[in-house]
Structure formats: structure tokens, C-alpha cells
């Protein structure tokens, strides 16, 4: 792993201010990356230290008694997690609800398929898994907003950089990029996009129409 999320994104995750799709992508990276997990813990410790320094607020006088009466209530059951999977780490499995082999992909053409994750699109974000055939190009595209990509299987080259499992790639709106999947196998990524994707290659307008 070479490409990690930036410190400000990790801090926003630890602070709890990242939107859900980005938080899912970071949690998935943290499942794979011990270094970033450690950094996120440091940032949670910052949250703990700040909490400790806050001036205490006033609590309703009867609140503790009301709470003590609830301590014996049964806890709500935890949703079961699908079994371990070679491609999908735990946070992602909780959303997909099955392993990678159980996914029903939607063909986008050009050797590219997608699976949209069931996260409400408030904030205008799209969260999807993308599967690219070996050696295929993702059509040249730019975005209205930031895009965050996490590689789950295989890898791709974008410009001079190679990205493999666990690597995070960020692209801001000014970047018009065209990643190419490695030749030795399919590439599967989690991609969070803000705003509409705009494809600028020859098939661009058509793909934009289908995916908008």
C-alpha cells in the first residue's frame, strides 16, 4: 500500500464529520491499513482530550434516575455480518449484505460494471463498486465535485501512479483522468463521487446520460 487518505480526511473521520459514503470508504481503508488505523486512534484521542476540556453542561436532575431504570432493558440485537470475504472488508460487507460473488452487477459497457450501494444520496453523493476488466480503460472523465477511490482487488495505473488493494486515490474537480486497469486481472474499486460524473471521451455524452 502506497497511497493513503490525507490527514485532514482521517481527522474528519475521527471527528465524525465525514458524510456517510466517505466514512464508509475510510473505514474500509482502516480495515486494511494498520498505520492509518493507528493515526485514526490518535485523532480519536484528540477528540477524547477535547471532550475532557469542555465545560460541563447542566443535566436534568431526574435524568440519572430515569436512566438507572433503563439499565436492565435488553440491548437491541446486532445485525449479523456476512462471512469473511477476500475482496470486501467488514464495513463494506455490512452495506453490501453479501460477499463479492453474490453481487449483481450492472453493465456500463466498455468492460466496466457497477453496483450502487444502498446509501441515501443526500448531499449528492453516489457510492458504488466498480468492476473493470483486465487492461481496460475507464472512460476519460471529470467531475463536478471531489472523487474518492479505494482499490479492493487488482489495481490500476493513473498517470505515473499505480494503485493496488487498499490504496486510496483522490481526484478534485479540475482533474480529468483516465485510469487503466492492470493487465493481469480485473480491478474492483469502491468509488464515492460528489456531483455528476462527466465523461469526456468519444462515448462521454452517452455514458453521462446513462449514469446521471
Amino acid at each position: 500500500m502506497i497511497h493513503h487518505p490525507s490527514a485532514d480526511v482521517l481527522m474528519a473521520y475521527a471527528a465524525g464529520s465525514l458524510p456517510e459514503p466517505h466514512a464508509l470508504l475510510i473505514a474500509t481503508h482502516l480495515s486494511l491499513c494498520a498505520d492509518c488505523r493507528d493515526a485514526a486512534k490518535e485523532m480519536e484521542a484528540v477528540g477524547g482530550a477535547l471532550l475532557d476540556r469542555l465545560a460541563p453542561a447542566e443535566i436534568a436532575p431526574d435524568a440519572l434516575d430515569r436512566l438507572l431504570k433503563r439499565l436492565d432493558e435488553p440491548a437491541p440485537p446486532k445485525a449479523p455480518l456476512p462471512p469473511a470475504d477476500p475482496v470486501l472488508p467488514a464495513p463494506l460487507r455490512a452495506y453490501v449484505g453479501r460477499g463479492i460473488d453474490g453481487i449483481t452487477w450492472t453493465k456500463l459497457g466498455g468492460g466496466v460494471e457497477e453496483f450502487r450501494l444502498p446509501i441515501p444520496t443526500t448531499g449528492g453523493y453516489a457510492t458504488r463498486l466498480i468492476r473493470i476488466d483486465a487492461g481496460r480503460k475507464i472512460p476519460s472523465h471529470s467531475h463536478d465535485g471531489d472523487e474518492l477511490t479505494l482499490v479492493l482487488a487488482g489495481g490500476f495505473i493513473d498517470g505515473d501512479d499505480h494503485y493496488g488493494r487498499g490504496d486510496v486515490a483522490g481526484a478534485d474537480p479540475s482533474v480529468n483522468h483516465h485510469p487503466v486497469a492492470d493487465a493481469d486481472g480485473e480491478c474492483i474499486c469502491l468509488i464515492v463521487t460528489e456531483g455528476k460524473l462527466r465523461f469526456s471521451g468519444p462515448l462521454g455524452p452517452l455514458l453521462t446520460y446513462f449514469r446521471g
Binding site: 488505523r37 480519536e44 475532557d52 467488514a90
Partner: protein, 193 residues
């Protein structure tokens, strides 16, 4: 048998860890009441700072403390001190109850980690030590950097939002954040050596 002290507003970090462990091991209600006395007013203050109204903050505080009670048996002081652990519970309850979103988290275990990503064992830092160092590092941050960190944790703002709110150019906000991070990091890593 440990004598239960009267409830105090502030307690030492080690003592708080011990209280959570007692709740986890023996469902000790007196320990829980003391934890409540320490944490509930701070959790509520945190929720108010993030813009919740009083009734919502009060309810989410109760839910946070209930989660503390239910999850105390999974508390591991080698992973995080009690203050940090309670912060993560409050943060997650807020996302759940107030933002109405799910909070994705990695598994605690190492099963899914990519092998080459682990920090060398001599650099792994004990939670209590990390908490102490983070506190010390925060004290040494210049005010303009400390203010930005506060905004990141207490106002649910992105760097772009902070730039808009403060009227500072985005580049300035980013570079102050970078300074604050590298300072925190330097203090943390320096103490590790």
C-alpha cells in the same frame, strides 16, 4: 473492597478506566453512577457545541451513557482510555440519532489488515501514553491551530466550510491544519523514541 468516594466532577484517567472495567466485569452500578457524574455533563456539552438543542442533547447523552453501560464489557484500556472511548460512543450516537446516518467502523481485529501495513512493534504506543501525549501536544498548539482543530471536532465543518466561516482563504486553512497535524505528530513521535 474499594470504598466508593462521593461523586466528583473530575477524576483521573486511570480511575475512569478502572470504573469502566468494573461496570464491564460486575455490572457495578455505583461505578456507573460515578462515570455518569463525570461524563454525562461533558457529553451533553459536546452535543450542544455541535448544534443540538437542549432536549435532543439530553436524549443523546442518555443514549450515550446507556451504550457505555451495555458495551463496558468490550472496553479495552490498551486500545483507548475511557475518555477517548466515551468520545467515540458519543460521536457515533450523535451520527446515529441526530444525523440519522450509519457509522461505518473497521473491525478491531487484525484479520483483514494487509501484511505490510503494520507499524513496527517498537512504535506501537500504549493507549494511556497516547492520551497523555495528545493532551500535552494540544496544550502546545498555537491558538490559531488549536481553534481549527476545535472547529473540526465541534462544528462538523470541512476545511472548505471553515474557510467560508472564518473568511480565511482555503489555502491558509489547509496549511494551518497541516501545521497543527505535523506538530501533533512530532510531539507524539518524539515521545515515542
Amino acid at each position: 473492597m474499594q470504598r466508593v468516594e462521593p461523586r466528583q466532577a473530575t477524576q483521573g484517567a486511570r480511575e475512569l478506566d478502572e470504573l469502566v472495567l468494573r461496570v464491564g466485569r460486575t455490572r457495578d452500578r455505583e461505578a456507573f453512577v460515578r462515570l455518569y457524574g463525570h461524563f454525562a455533563p461533558r457529553v451533553k456539552a459536546y452535543l450542544l457545541r455541535l448544534g443540538a438543542d437542549d432536549a435532543t442533547a439530553e436524549e443523546a447523552t442518555q443514549e450515550t451513557m446507556l451504550s457505555l453501560w451495555r458495551r463496558a464489557d468490550s472496553f479495552d484500556p490498551s486500545q483507548a482510555g475511557a475518555g477517548t472511548w466515551v468520545f467515540t460512543i458519543a460521536r457515533n450516537r450523535r451520527i446515529d440519532l441526530i444525523r440519522r446516518e450509519r457509522r461505518p467502523e473497521p473491525d478491531d481485529g487484525a484479520a483483514e489488515l494487509i501484511a505490510d501495513s503494520a507499524a513496527p512493534a517498537d512504535q506501537v504506543i500504549a493507549a494511556a501514553e497516547r492520551d497523555r501525549q495528545v493532551r500535552a501536544a494540544l496544550e502546545t498548539l498555537p491558538k490559531e491551530q488549536a481553534d481549527l482543530i476545535q472547529m473540526a471536532y465541534y462544528q462538523d465543518l470541512t476545511q472548505t466550510d471553515i474557510a467560508a466561516r472564518t473568511g480565511l482563504p482555503l489555502g491558509t486553512v489547509k496549511s494551518r491544519f497541516r501545521l497543527a497535524f505535523s506538530r501533533l505528530k512530532r510531539v507524539l513521535e518524539g515521545d515515542r523514541a
